[in-house]
């Protein structure tokens, strides 16, 4: 305990260690939060979900924090529905709904009011209608009211039980708007030469008629903004927040488990080899030499291509291939010295068992050497996982940072200017890598007095 306290005081003396440790603790807390807020099955459902899950999101929208840095405020997604979702994932405003009964059926008026204070036009405008009826299709008339009081007829149509109306694909509406795309024409200031959106309160009124008793109309209005959410969206409308948040526990778990597993196994095997000597030692040395010949990355790629892309299988192979490396020779050299120490001789004299000597006397001696190595080793494994995902060999179900970068690269994010798509996961990767290596380098100096002051 006292030793731990002393180590912590030592760490506090190195600013880079403090920064690294802070980032790691922060990441871990966010990672735990992510796992609680979005449970594993939910994360997978979201990440594997298609249009049905993500229809409310725009495609390839940049993150909302862009607006903090730009003069021109870009539009954000607006969602208004006339019904309440049982499981509200995204915040929605509620539209006003008025029902006037008639002899048979009723008149239903839905009013959607929203503020539009952006300097840019939206990406898309969509109505998702849902109606209940037996035989006769309900009829709706959609009118658009601009802040300066103009009324624009959007469409008049009969609707089915589930119907999607896309403003931008309605050629008749485009014709009515003199050939200007509705996302611009409906918002543009008529007094401006160049298209500039008119800021203020917009209103959409749906006047619907149902011809049967008990029939009903509901509609959800979706305005896809140029920006969306904390992290933006990808080509499948998925909110990148899910992947960025879930990437944290996955990256940390992969890095920590791989580094710890490799480190402990290497250390134990080196100790066993040195202690028993003879053919055991010889065998370990030969295996190490053979392992040096094996192409590490190629084998992992082969495993991913031929066998399984599950992150746990890859993790297992990574550890197995990383045990018998140069580190085993370093540890062996140290153990060879330690073996000759008098305290080991004393232990042998009082009849300590082999296991006792290995685990209680040999291994603890190199733990100070091991810990910095473990921490410095973590970024390598984190980036290895990202690299495999980048090559398209990422886990098929899990959302990881590497997979986001792979998606981005594959869909030409850099050519198309969707920089956020690559920069965000890359920045997180970099942050993780830097945090662990900064901490590791400082630990190295703390535990290896020879490096101190160098």
């Amino acid at each position: 305990m006292k030793k731990l306290q002393k180590t912590l005081i030592d760490i506090a003396r190195y600013p880079s260690a403090v920064i690294g440790l802070t980032i790691i603790i922060l990441m871990m807390s966010i990672g735990i939060y992510a796992m609680i807020a979005i449970p594993y099955p939910e994360a997978i459902r979201l990440w594997r979900g298609g249009e049905a899950v993500w229809y409310q999101n725009p495609k390839n929208a940049a993150p909302a924090w862009f607006n903090y840095f730009t003069q021109q405020k870009l539009s954000e997604t607006i969602l208004i529905a006339s019904f309440e979702e049982e499981n509200p994932v995204l915040q929605k405003d509620l539209a006003e709904k008025e029902v006037i009964p008639r002899e048979t059926g009723s008149e239903i008026t839905l009013t959607y009011t929203f503020e539009y204070d952006y300097d840019d036009f939206p990406k898309d405008l969509i109505f998702y209608f849902r109606s209940a009826y037996n035989e006769k299709l309900p009829f709706v008339a959609v009118r658009w009211y601009t802040p300066d009081g103009r009324e624009i007829r959007v469409t008049d149509m009969s609707i089915q039980r589930r119907q999607t109306y896309r403003f931008l694909q309605d050629t008749r509406l485009v014709r009515r708007l003199q050939g200007v795309s509705p996302d611009i024409a409906l918002f543009a200031d008529p007094n401006s030469e160049t298209p500039v959106p008119l800021k203020g309160t917009y209103k959409i009124v749906i006047e619907g008629i149902v011809f049967e008793d008990g029939a009903d109309i509901d509609a959800e209005f979706v305005l896809h903004g140029q920006l969306h959410g904390w992290a933006g969206t990808d080509h499948q409308r998925r909110d990148l927040t899910v992947a960025l948040l879930w990437g944290i526990p996955i990256a940390l778990a992969f890095g920590l488990v791989a580094s710890l597993g490799t480190g402990i196994a290497t250390m134990t095997i080196a100790a066993v080899g040195v202690w028993f000597g003879g053919w055991v030692d010889e065998l370990i040395q030969r295996i190490t030499e053979i392992n040096l010949v094996l192409p590490f990355l190629s084998i992992l790629i082969m495993v991913g291509t031929f066998y399984s892309r599950s992150i746990w299988v890859i993790l297992g192979f990574t550890i197995a291939l990383s045990i018998f490396t140069g580190a085993i020779k370093t540890y062996r050299a140290i153990f060879l010295q330690v073996r000759e120490s008098t305290y080991i001789e004393a232990a042998r004299a009082y009849g300590a068992s082999d296991a006792r000597i290995i685990f209680k006397y040999l291994i603890p001696r190199i733990i100070p050497l091991l810990i910095p190595g473990l921490v410095i080793g973590i970024p390598g494994f984190v980036f290895l996982e990202a690299a495999l995902a980048f090559l398209g060999l990422g886990d098929p179900v899990l959302p990881t940072w590497g997979k986001v970068i792979n998606d981005a690269q594959f869909n030409g994010a850099l050519y198309n200017g969707f920089y956020y798509w690559i920069v965000q996961p890359a920045a997180l990767l970099m942050l993780t890598g830097l945090a662990f290596s900064m901490l590791g380098f400082s630990l190295d100096r703390i535990f290896n007095p020879r490096l101190r002051g160098m």
Partner: protein
């Protein structure tokens, strides 16, 4: 010359002869043992790779399935066989599959075939690739690999050599001015090497290709390739800037830091203090008291830099679309092309074995304290 002197000189000559022959014997025995163990290592390592590259024979099943499908489709789509009856067509398909399996050697059991692979690989007879062809259309594995070797060598060879020498010299300089601003900066920047080159590559592409539009996204030369060699090399150099700098960025600081620490440890030895006390110039101290004892380590890491060039860098090459060996291997794995995978492994294994073997002798040459085959 008195009699006793004569006897003495005779004895001395005899002794020298004996010593020489014992050195020779020791050297011979050591060399033989070393060669055998290294060969053993190479054989096992390559055989393991063969097993993995075939997934213990499972890849055969994949290949057979692909073969069956391709032949069935091509026969059923071929108008020449339209008038054949179903039985005739089935017989034709079976026949073609048999021929094709024989050509690829899939009809023999995997256990035997894996040994053939091993034997051929050890003799550097790589044979033909299963699916891949080189850009010039050859199916010989040797051609496929040789075609890509220059592009890997020019990029990674050049940048790794520069990296190696720059970091060693910079480190030597820093170890002399240790504690200076640059020294502290290098120490502070060394954690940035936590990220691999491909990762910096993405950032560099983003900045210089996507945003600033001054350098190409990737590839080796502009398309179409320029005709005269001057413009060609100019274009090559333009394409090399980003990958080479990503390599540098990812390794330089850590490499300098490691070498610098290494030199610092050696320069705090007593004999260096002694040399300083004697008033030797720092150049002499560096050359004779620091570089000399560290030479084996420098040579080793230089040799490792050289052999690690083999195979290129799969991911960096993918990021930069660089047509090197790494991407060839990646493609080979993707199309289950075992001969290409095995060929690249065996060459690496041989290079490593030869280097390890030679290093023992080089140590003895550069460091008089080391005796070949001594403990």
């Amino acid at each position: 010359m008195t009699e006793s002197e004569l006897v003495q000189s005779n004895e001395a000559a005899l002794y020298a002869k004996k010593a020489a022959s014992s050195t020779f014997n020791r050297l011979l025995r050591y060399t033989a043992v070393r060669l055998v163990t290294l060969l053993f290592t190479v054989v096992i390592g390559v055989y393991l790779t063969i097993l993995i590259a075939n997934m213990g024979g499972y890849v055969d099943e994949i290949l057979k399935g692909e073969l069956r499908q391709n032949i069935s489709i091509s026969v059923s789509l071929n108008p020449a066989y339209r008038d054949y009856t179903v039985e005739q067509r089935a017989a034709l398909i079976a026949d073609q599959i048999r021929v094709e399996e024989e050509r690829l050697g899939l009809n023999r059991p995997f256990a035997i075939r894996s040994l053939t692979y091993l034997w051929n690989a050890l003799r550097l007879e790589f044979g033909r690739a299963m699916q891949m062809t080189s850009d010039s259309g050859s199916k010989l594995v040797r051609n496929i690999i040789l075609e890509r070797l220059p592009s890997t060598l020019i990029l990674f060879g050049l940048s790794n050599l520069v990296l190696f020498f720059v970091s060693v010299f910079l480190a030597l300089m820093l170890s002399r001015h240790y504690g200076s601003f640059i020294d502290k900066a290098v120490v502070a920047l060394s954690p940035t090497s936590a990220a691999p080159p491909w990762f910096y590559g993405i950032f560099l592409i983003l900045i210089f290709a996507a945003v600033l539009k001054v350098l190409p996204f990737g590839g080796m030369v502009s398309a179409p390739p320029p005709d005269n060699w001057f413009e060609y090399s100019l274009s090559l150099m333009r394409h090399m800037i980003l990958p080479a700098s990503s390599l540098m960025l990812a390794s330089l600081f850590l490499s300098v830091y490691n070498w610098r620490t290494f030199f610092l440890i050696y320069s705090s030895e007593d004999y260096v203090e002694m040399a300083k006390a004697k008033g030797l110039t720092s150049r002499d101290i560096e050359r004779r008291y620091i570089l000399r004892p560290t030479l084996p380590t420098i040579v080793t890491s230089f040799a490792l830099v050289l052999i690690n060039l083999w195979g290129g860098a799969i991911i960096t090459e993918t990021v930069f679309n660089w047509p090197g060996l790494g991407r060839t291997i990646f493609r080979a794995i993707g199309s289950y092309d075992t001969p290409v995978i095995v060929a690249s492994t065996i060459i690496f294994a041989y290079l490593l074995a030869i280097t390890v073997f030679l290093l023992d002798f080089i140590y003895a040459l550069v460091d008089p304290r080391v005796k070949v085959g001594g403990n």
